[in-house]
Symmetry: C2
Subunit: 98 residues, 2 copies
Amino acid sequence: MAEESVVLVGRKPAMNYVLATTLPLAEGKKVVLKARGRAISKAVDVVEVVRRRFVQNAVVEKVNIGTEEGRVGNDGRPRNISTIEIILAPPAQGGKKK
Amino acid sequence: MAEESVVLVGRKPAMNYVLATTLPLAEGKKVVLKARGRAISKAVDVVEVVRRRFVQNAVVEKVNIGTEEGRVGNDGRPRNISTIEIILAPPAQGGKKK
């Protein structure tokens, strides 16, 4: 079973998360990127930048989407928020290297 | 092979896309939701609202993410933009009904 690293994508610049994702991948670990709400688009951007520029053969193993009960401060009502989970695997697991 | 309906998620209110997704699903068709850039989060919201409130047993068959070469007007430079494609299937395809 491969070790997994979890990256929570939030409000920081995308490049922070790109780096946090690239390092474990380069060590042969899987990375699980998680994001909620508006950060979902950023999580997809992060994966795409990593795959285009840093770890070219990284594999998107699985993308899960879901809902979480969040809370919004303004009116205090509980509100559902969408979530995404992207599982990114290092290239050539147990296979050829390039 | 099931018929597919394609919904392009853009700048309109999410509820427009929720409706556009619910109708074909209710007729037993698959729906492919596509979105780019910031609309990616909205596409996930649409799927989650449909599954929670309208077509409860709809199945997320597959989520694909990718990159497209877009163009941004401000500086005219081509710029990559992330994309998502969510394939949503009606409940109980060829199976039990509820």
